[in-house]
């Protein structure tokens, strides 16, 4: 009796320990999920906080005179400089003047030039216009440069701050929505740099990628699921596709460099080559998704079609493919989203150059949105890091939209047989 009692006591004592172990084990799981989720939260907040500032840009109200002489000399920045001298008439020596001119962006002159091009009657007129400031002043206005730091430690001098304060007192300087970010290409000056060029590059590459990978992927999937006999050859294709899905993306870039650029002599940095490389990369994703969609179509559909005298091709084209299409489209959108975020293979084929012009055709030199992020992330200016984060916000925004469309498509057309 005593023996069995001590045994149950032992079990009792062990039980508490076992329950503690149980709780601990459960806690590990919660901690693991918390780590992953909080990392995501920290990353997105850090980037969001950094990037949100770039959607605004400091502008200064300058009273400029479109005088004939400057227009004739095509010296638009000269008009800006003259306006600056008028705003701060007591700035005397050359060095101070040069510092004064540096308050404004070198793009201010282009703004004036564009205004004049649109409306030639401006010649000789005096106007008050909001023009972009330089990136250092922009950073000062956004509080990224500490006014209380010793003068040598910050990128703006006390004198420059005093000029900005004069503007502030007159309400002549303010943060305005940064349209340039969405309407211009890359630039060495952060305040002039925009993502439109990179966005167009991505758009052009993705169109090529879609036009190649969507039909090819679906045809391959249809062949493998509906037509292919089970033999060595189709086994080989299957193994191939599964392996290609796991090949590092940079290897596709090496393929593009060696085959498309050096062998077929296609142009460097062109969206058409980028699209081709991305198409090869997304092909496995699309094939695998399309095959799953085809497999989900029940055999009864096919048998009914065969029973009505349809041929194999008719059965597939008229009945199986339409039913599998939503699933295939979902897979394709997810593949495209992957391609949109991919940058490593594009680095290999030269889509990583500094390109100011906005690409208009498939053979113009271009970059892509993620590559632009990579390029800007390398720039030392604080204003560029802000723009990098803003570009990431735009990119992630696009990815979220694409994935949401895929989810909605799946929910809407999902059929249970």
């Amino acid at each position: 009796m005593t023996d069995s009692l001590s045994k149950s006591e032992r079990i009792q004592a062990g039980l508490a320990k076992r329950y503690r172990a149980e709780k601990r084990f459960r806690l590990y799981g919660i901690v693991a999920i918390a780590v992953a989720v909080s990392f995501l939260a920290v990353m997105l907040t850090a980037i969001g906080v950094r990037g949100v500032g770039a959607f605004q840009q400091t502008h200064v109200a300058l009273t400029v005179t479109f005088d004939e002489q400057h227009i004739q000399d095509n010296d638009w920045q000269g008009i800006v400089k003259a306006a600056m001298r008028e705003t701060f008439p007591d700035v005397g020596n050359r060095r101070d003047k040069r510092a004064l001119y540096k308050l404004m962006s070198s793009g201010a002159g282009f703004d004036l030039q564009n205004m004049y091009r649109d409306d030639a009657s401006l010649a000789g007129q005096v106007r008050t216009i909001w023009l972009p400031s330089s990136d250092d002043i922009d950073m000062l206005m956004k509080g990224a440069i500490d006014r209380n730091a010793p003068e040598d430690d910050r990128r703006v001098t006390d004198q420059e701050i005093s000029w900005v304060d004069q503007w502030l007192a007159n309400d002549a300087i303010e943060l305005q929505f940064n349209t340039r970010l969405f309407t211009s290409g890359d630039s060495r000056e952060p305040e002039l740099a925009g993502i439109l060029g990179a966005f167009m590059g991505s758009l052009l590459s993705l169109s090529v990628c879609f036009l190649l990978s969507f039909p090819l992927g679906i045809m391959t999937a249809v062949y493998l699921e509906e037509f292919a006999p089970k033999n060595k050859w189709t086994d080989l294709i299957e193994v191939n596709i599964n392996n290609l899905a796991a090949v590092p993306s940079i290897v596709f870039g090496l393929l593009g460099l060696a085959v498309f650029l050096n062998f077929f002599m296609l142009p460097r940095s062109a969206p058409v080559v980028g699209g081709m490389v991305l198409a090869l990369m997304t092909l496995p994703t699309i094939i695998i998704a399309a095959r799953a969609a085809l497999r989900a179509v029940p055999p009864s559909i096919r048998e009914a079609a065969f029973g009505m005298g349809a041929s194999q091709v008719q059965t597939v084209l008229h009945h199986v493919l339409p039913l599998a299409m939503p699933g295939m489209l979902t897979g394709t959108i997810i593949g495209m989203a992957q391609a949109l975020g991919e940058s490593a293979p594009l680095l290999m084929i030269g889509m990583v150059a500094f390109i100011v012009d906005i690409p208009a055709s498939f053979v113009d030199p271009a970059t892509a949105l993620p590559v632009q992020i990579y390029l800007w992330a390398d720039s030392p200016e604080r204003a560029f890091s802000e723009r990098t984060a803003a570009a990431i916000i735009v990119l992630v925004g696009f990815l979220i939209v694409m994935n949401l469309v895929a989810v909605i498509l799946r929910r809407r057309f999902e059929q249970r047989w």
Binding site: Y223, N240, V251, L255, G341, V396
Partner: protein
């Protein structure tokens, strides 16, 4: 009038369509062939100039090509061991982070979590998988690396601003969803009868998971880990942005190391003539990368497939 046995339009059309389908399915084969051919061809040219043993076993990597022919150190040295070591170091850190996090997350989601929790957490983990790697790279270089450096300074450690630890940590989070979703699948594939048997013997849930479910799912989990390792080895943007450029043979995660992918990118971006040993070296590195990841993938897919058959 149009339908005569002699025309057999249907048969002709079917044959043509089938031909097109077969042709498109060969693109996958052609891609692999293209990768192997281009990598092998350029790598062989590289090994024509630099002996293969120097490349595989050399411990000094400084691929500068000389501007003048008589310049000192004109040939450059192409010992790739520091690159392999750096790649392994960063991948190992990534796996050390991702394996516990991914595995425990998968166990919790598969065995403990309510359906409502699952429905929320799984998509969030999928977001992690969907974020472009360039974003991770930016975060690693701009937030994680300076933070590690600052923390290191505070406790008196000298942490490089391009430390392997920063790149590895962030890469670990990147591959976590890969491990968790694959493990989730295999854990769910373990038959309920096995759990019920264990519960019937009086085991607690965690004892069941540790002693019954995990051993049964182990091959599948191993397959998932191998796939994750291959992803980590081939990952480019995080290391390009957050790891170092200079070759450094060290096992210290606080120092800067460089990786195979970083060197491929630095060798091939910018303008240079295509025939130099420097650019060809990138293809030799690419070949190494391709072969390594291919072997890992083949083993992983084989294990996962075999495991699936076991319970089907």
């Amino acid at each position: 009038m149009y339908v005569t046995p002699a025309r057999r339009a249907k048969k002709a059309v079917e044959t043509v369509i089938k031909g097109i389908l077969i042709a498109s399915s060969t693109v996958a084969i052609l891609t692999t062939a293209g990768i192997v051919a281009s990598l092998l061809f350029e790598a062989l040219r590289f090994f024509g100039e630099i002996p293969m043993t120097d490349f595989l076993f050399g411990v000094e990597w400084s691929p500068q090509t000389a501007i003048r022919a008589d310049q000192v150190g004109a040939s450059g040295s192409f010992g790739a061991v520091p690159l392999f070591a750096g790649t392994l170091l960063i991948s190992a850190i990534a796996l050390l982070v991702a394996t516990p996090v991914g595995l425990f997350a998968a166990i919790y989601l598969a065995e403990y979590a309510h359906a409502s929790v699952r429905n929320w957490v799984k998509p969030i983990l999928e977001i992690l998988a969907g974020i472009p790697t360039v974003v991770y790279g930016f975060f690693a270089a701009l937030v994680v690396a300076p933070w590690l450096r600052g923390t290191g300074e505070a406790v008196g450690l000298d942490v490089s601003s391009e430390s392997a630890l920063a790149a590895g940590l962030v890469m670990g989070i990147m591959i976590t969803p890969l491990i968790s979703s694959l493990s989730d699948d295999v854990i769910n594939a373990v038959p309920q009868a096995m759990r019920d048997g264990s519960f019937g013997l009086g085991a607690t849930k965690s004892e069941t998971i540790r002693n019954v479910v995990l051993p049964a799912a182990l091959p599948g989990i191993m397959g998932g880990l191998l796939l994750a390792a291959s992803r980590a080895i081939g990952e480019t943007m995080i290391v390009v942005m957050a790891a170092g450029l200079a070759a450094n043979l060290t096992a210290n995660p606080l120092q800067a190391v460089t990786t195979v992918t970083v060197q491929i990118v630095t060798l091939l971006t910018g303008d240079q003539e295509f025939d130099s040993a420097k650019t060809l070296a990138a293809f030799a590195l690419g070949l190494m990368l391709f072969v390594t990841t291919l072997v890992l993938n083949v083993i992983a897919l084989h294990i996962v497939k075999k495991y699936r058959e076991q319970y089907d």
